[in-house]
Point group: C2
DNA sequence: GCCCTAAATGATATGGTGTATCATAATTAT
DNA sequence: ATAATTATGATACACCATATCATTTAGGGC
């Protein structure tokens, strides 16, 4: 995400927090900015490193964890539980209500996109779970994938 | 799983390994037995602890990780990536070919069951992923759930 | 059985992830 | 201003996982 887009998205994040009565402090905003500028999900310690580069001073890992917790609660960032990494929400600039996201994770280049699978499919999943004697609590999915780019690469490589 | 079932399952695991030319050594078998006797998924270090209790001597964590890797490759155990825990495959005694499993994880009591979601649903998921510019690599799902037991409990608790 | 090789296991060190706890600073409410 | 609440910092520690090199064990040809 380029500088202009980051600025605009941070503005939208401020609006969103103002609306919900949450306090988007400078440091929380900086952590979000680090995520927005990153092409890939970052671990908490990745963020610590990048933060000190971007903002000229260290930040305690403990604080980063708390800020990520805050950002996640506000749906400004999400945690990939299967990867122990974090990424900015793709819908900060959108007005629609935020629904539970699904993530497609490229196992080769680590690119991740946030999608919304059709509600009927999620309901079908919920039914399948119910039939097995469980209740689905979260429809956040993290799917091991290849992005089309890497899929093409791997074919090329296999051919050579 | 009771002692008799464990014995029978270990026998099936031996058969399976013989068939595939893999070596199910005593220690690998013991690690599998620890998983079979557990009602819940275990971390590698949980296994280290339980192993030394069950077999009267310590085992290096490093070895446990390698044995789990072996068991996973042979489809005798699976790793829950979202939990960093391991569990025995539920189908060791079955003759059918092992398909990629889906796991329902109770967030309250940690019970986990291994299910197989209908292939048509997996295909629908694959299509949705493809439409987003990715290719689904693994259909292993780990779903945050409540088991019916815990779901009932939490209702009761909420009422009180 | 003996020797060679490959596979499995052990020992040690180190890095990555996450939380608990208590102290301090900043914000908000009265 | 003062007090209460919230946010941040500092420190310690627990847990998860891998890298590397040494040692032991198992199989196969002789
Ligand atoms: Zn989102
Ligand atoms: Zn890719
Ligand atoms: Zn299985
Ligand atoms: Zn339960």
């Amino acid at each position: 995400m380029n500088v202009t887009e980051v600025e605009r998205t941070l503005g939208a994040a401020e609006d969103s927090c103002r609306a919900s009565g949450a306090r988007l402090t400078d440091k929380r905003k900086n952590v979000l900015a680090v995520l927005l500028r990153s092409q890939k999900p970052l671990s908490a310690y990745d963020i610590v490193d990048q933060y000190s580069k971007d903002y000229g001073g260290p930040i305690p890992a403990m604080s980063v964890y708390r800020m990520l917790e805050f950002l996640a609660k506000e749906n400004l960032a999400h945690k990939l539980n299967s990867e122990n990494k974090y990424l900015a929400c793709a819908h900060i600039n959108c007005n629609h209500h935020h629904r539970t996201p699904q993530f497609l994770i490229c196992g080769s280049c680590n690119k991740v996109i946030e999608i919304g699978i059709r509600p009927e499919m999620i309901e079908a999943l919920r039914d399948a779970v119910k039939a097995a004697g469980f209740r689905l609590q979260s429809s956040q999915l993290e799917l091991n994938c290849l992005c089309d780019n890497c899929a093409k690469e791997s074919v090329t490589t296999a051919d050579s």
